[in-house]
Amino acid sequence: MTKRTMPFLSSSVTFLEDALEILFKDLRLELRRGYEIYSIMVLALLSNLSFGFALGIMNPNVLEFVPAVLWISILFIGMLGFTTVFVREMDKGTIDGLRLAPISPQAILLGKTIYTFMLMCVGAVFIIPSSMIILNYTFRSDYLLVILFLGLGILNIAVVGSMVSALAMYSESRALIIPALSLPLVPGTLVPSILATGKLATGATIDMILSELQLNLAFLLLMVAAFWITFEYVLYD
């Protein structure tokens, strides 16, 4: 197993450039194919329609269900993306190219995480406005706060998803192991995100969601630290 400690050798600028290079490579591939973004759009609309039918379009208690509905849809869309992060590299044999590239493993992980985050944001851009129309609700809090909080929650799921995808590429039952690993690992961010989204829909200020915000930030720090340290053991054989 080749172990690399590039972040300590390369400058932070090179490190970011490497991460962006990985991100642009994945984005170029994604834009060339396009069917994943298309699938995400379709899934976003379908999930909102399904929940709309299940809950009743004019349900007066819709705000009780909306936060959970929203985050479950975002999570499932994320899972579509997780399979494309590392598993696809393994399936196509391009993982060896990544391993041999003179790039630190952490830069690869960062690039892949930003890519997952962007893919999930595309999904969220379709899910949130369409659910506001279909389920007939609106966020009464400051929109900047809503966007920042939702972004943090999505980033947390993207971080976990990238690592799960990296672990799952060695598994013989990848399709099953991705949800089996990600679902129990995300409640640490999913539960506070659902609780705070409910509050944001009823007009909460930043003080009212402070404990959820702290939990989400703590989750992000813990996960990033754990992934940062262990990722090279996952990438290199």
Binding site: E172, L222, Y233
Partner: protein, 224 residues
């Protein structure tokens, strides 16, 4: 047999613990005898955390040294941790039925313990889905570290969110539930008994895995 004194000590400790739980400890004023389930529930929860901590340490040491022994420790402890986590959930649900009228009430503490169980179930299913031994050990070690991150979440969920569950002993920042000295002593003895039981089961599981490995190697040699 050199194990005999250890086994005798283990048997004695658990016998004393059972006597104290069911006969010696007085009934609780408001809960009656139903509270006795805590003398099994709390030690089981402690032992499951201990087992998951061993998995965590075993995982770190495996990544550091690449010695298969640490992977063996991590996987054996995770199996036993799962078992004791299940006991914690079952005994907790039994008491919830008596005290609150339902087995499952989505209490944050209850839910986060269930999530903990699911995390380690996923850890074991992940191990089972990789056939290459070195890859399995290395990637499982990474997962063993990640899974442990969910334990503080489980523990502190009772502090962060409104919960029906009694407050944990640490951090002590809220009034604790009053507990009689005889009950505290019973809990301490029960903790020791269950921890010894776990140690014995851990030793047996390690031996079982070692023997399975030897048998597999012998089988390979015969085939060749």
């Amino acid at each position: 047999m050199k194990d005999k004194p250890i086994l005798a000590g283990l048997f004695l400790a658990n016998l004393i613990s059972l006597y104290m739980i069911f006969i010696w400890a007085p009934p609780e004023r408001s809960l009656g005898d139903s509270y006795r389930v805590f003398f099994i529930h709390t030690p089981a929860a402690w032992v499951s955390y201990l087992a998951f901590a061993i998995t965590f340490l075993g995982s770190i040491l495996y990544l550091k040294t690449e010695k298969p022994m640490w992977d063996l420790y991590a996987s054996s402890a995770s199996l036993l941790g799962l078992l004791f986590c299940l006991v914690t959930l079952i005994t907790g649900s039994m008491w919830a039925k008596l005290a609150w009228g339902i087995y499952w009430n989505w209490d944050p503490r209850e839910t986060s313990t269930l999530i903990l169980l699911l995390v380690y179930l996923a850890y074991i299913s992940f191990r089972m889905s990789i056939s290459d031994k070195d890859r399995k050990a290395r990637t499982s070690a990474v997962l063993g570290i990640l899974a442990f991150v969910s334990i503080p979440l489980s523990y502190f969920s009772a502090v962060f969110w409104a919960t029906l569950h009694p407050m944990p002993l640490f951090p002590i920042n809220r009034p604790q539930l009053g507990i009689e000295p005889s009950m505290l002593l019973t809990l301490a003895v029960s903790m020791i008994g269950v921890t010894l039981l776990f140690s014995w089961m851990f030793y047996l599981t390690l031996n079982m895995y070692r023997m399975t490995e030897k048998a597999e190697l012998s089988l390979l040699e015969i085939k060749e």
